[in-house]
Symmetry: C2
């Protein structure tokens, strides 16, 4: 089975207390695809400009990522520049140049309209809906968003959410979308908006998955060397959906495992700039951290 992802592919310039990079491979679609590619075949739908380095497209292909939905438009690739402060929790966006991403109209390749597992990366909610219009009958649709869309595109977002199975949010977004400060109540309220499952990403505090019946509290991986948090949420989603795509199992028991694989991929992601933290590992490294998280959260009855 394979996973379809629609998102951004960008060239990021990032500065953290530990270093800086310019025009590094970034974007939600990129982080997601690279993370998911460890588990299953991925099809990436995104847009880049004519300036996008050919080597990056080769890189995607070499990882088994299907780029038939990655279109190249006349113009420049989406560029984002940001600076992280000392504690890596707050970041300032220095520059956002949408460039060709501004006119992005996702077109799902014919060969992928039957995709069973779909991830709607962090793009304009109406475009997320347009993706769902193009796919036949996905078994599981997971959706991400951000504060900007929650505030400025609320109605469209609520429409999209009605068609989504799993909503992935960070804790601030979960509170923002529901107006509820208590995170548990907020998670429940998200479930009233359509999704049957919500996953709240809490960074260094792990993740919380809620369904109408159960809560699952996933530990964070104890990262001592957080180098650059950019893309952690998308790497999380990539590990999550990658595992689901690989197993084809959408039971609650397997969704819990998928959350742990998401946690593991995010932990590798933040250890280096761009996708380097993920590309320097192999599957055995992933399994090792999975087992470590089992130990980290274990207690005897």
């Amino acid at each position: 089975m394979s996973v379809l992802v629609v998102g951004s592919v960008a060239l990021d310039s990032v500065k953290t207390p530990f270093g800086a990079v310019s025009d590094a491979l970034g974007g939600s679609g990129t982080y997601f695809s690279v993370a998911a590619s460890f588990f299953t075949e991925v099809s990436l739908v995104a847009v880049v400009g004519t300036d996008f380095p050919e080597e990056y497209i080769d890189f995607f292909k070499a990882r088994g990522i299907d780029t038939s939905g990655l279109t190249v438009e006349e113009g420049e690739t989406f560029r984002w520049a940001g600076v992280y402060g000392f504690d890596l929790n707050d970041r300032d966006t220095i520059e956002t140049r949408l460039n060709v991403f501004e006119g992005f109209r996702p077109v799902i390749p014919k060969s992928r309209v039957n995709s069973e597992f779909v991830f709607l990366g962090n793009i304009i909610p109406a475009l997320q809906s347009s993706v769902l219009d193009q796919v036949a009958r996905p078994r599981l649709v997971t959706c991400d968003t951000m504060n900007f869309y929650i505030e400025g595109y609320r109605e469209d977002l609520l429409e999209t959410m009605k068609r989504v199975d799993v909503m992935v949010l960070n804790d601030a977004e979960c509170r923002q979308i529901t107006g509820e400060p208590n995170l548990i109540k907020a998670a429940r309220k998200v479930l009233e908006l359509g999704p049957t499952t919500v996953i709240v990403k809490k960074g260094e505090h792990g993740a919380l998955m809620a369904t109408p019946d159960v809560f699952f509290s996933a530990p964070a991986y104890p990262c001592e060397s957080v180098f650059d948090p950019t893309g952690a949420g998308d790497a999380f989603a990539g590990g999550f959906m990658g595992h689901i795509g690989a197993t084809g199992d959408i039971s609650e028991v397997n969704l819990r495992r998928a959350v742990i694989y998401g946690t593991v991929m995010a932990s590798f992601c933040v250890e280096q700039f761009s996708v380097d933290g993920m590309t320097s590992i192999d599957r055995s490294d992933i399994e090792r951290r999975f087992r470590m998280l089992k130990q980290v959260s274990h207690f005897e009855p």
Copy 2:
């Protein structure tokens, strides 16, 4: 086995978005003792004024809390007043009147100098050390503190910490005491200051226990009705030490269980004002939440 606690007994006036109380039973020693009393015998060393209601002393005794170390001094009882904002995360202290607590010099009753399990509540670090001077050979000493002592009594606190086995801090305190923004690194640095174990309380995000060898990530109980967070940290410590006192087992496996019992007691504590959330339950309620936390954090390998 029993647990010895040294801390404050106060009359709290608290206002939250959900209600208000005046001169309610509070203080670190109180919350700790009530939580621990579900598990084991507790001996409370503290000071109150002549205005302290007799009914509260009767309440302690009825719970099997030994009050032979609770002295009554001429003057008024320690009073604290605070207001919580909408999201219950930030609180403003309206008034702190130390009264008789200002001259508190803990004296351990002769019958308790052989206590095996000692909790140093949140008081001046030099007084915490004076308690350790008075006890013979405790098997496990756990210590709490706060931002005020970390900033203003740093040297004394570092001296106390050299003599402590388990340090209990919230995440902000853990970062403050070490100057390290990464919580995992910060926890490790606390271990370099003396304690063999550090427990970082993260409120709605659960707790993290670190030893030189292992990390344990404990889930938060999914509280939907947080009414008043006052005393949650001390109730946590009471459940933690209460379980250790009851079992006499200081193995790492049992410390993990103790962290879960601490989490459970904190979850009851925040559901009502003062200690009411804890006194309205029985032991079977505690076990039910313990099992619930096992389910909440479980995933299949």
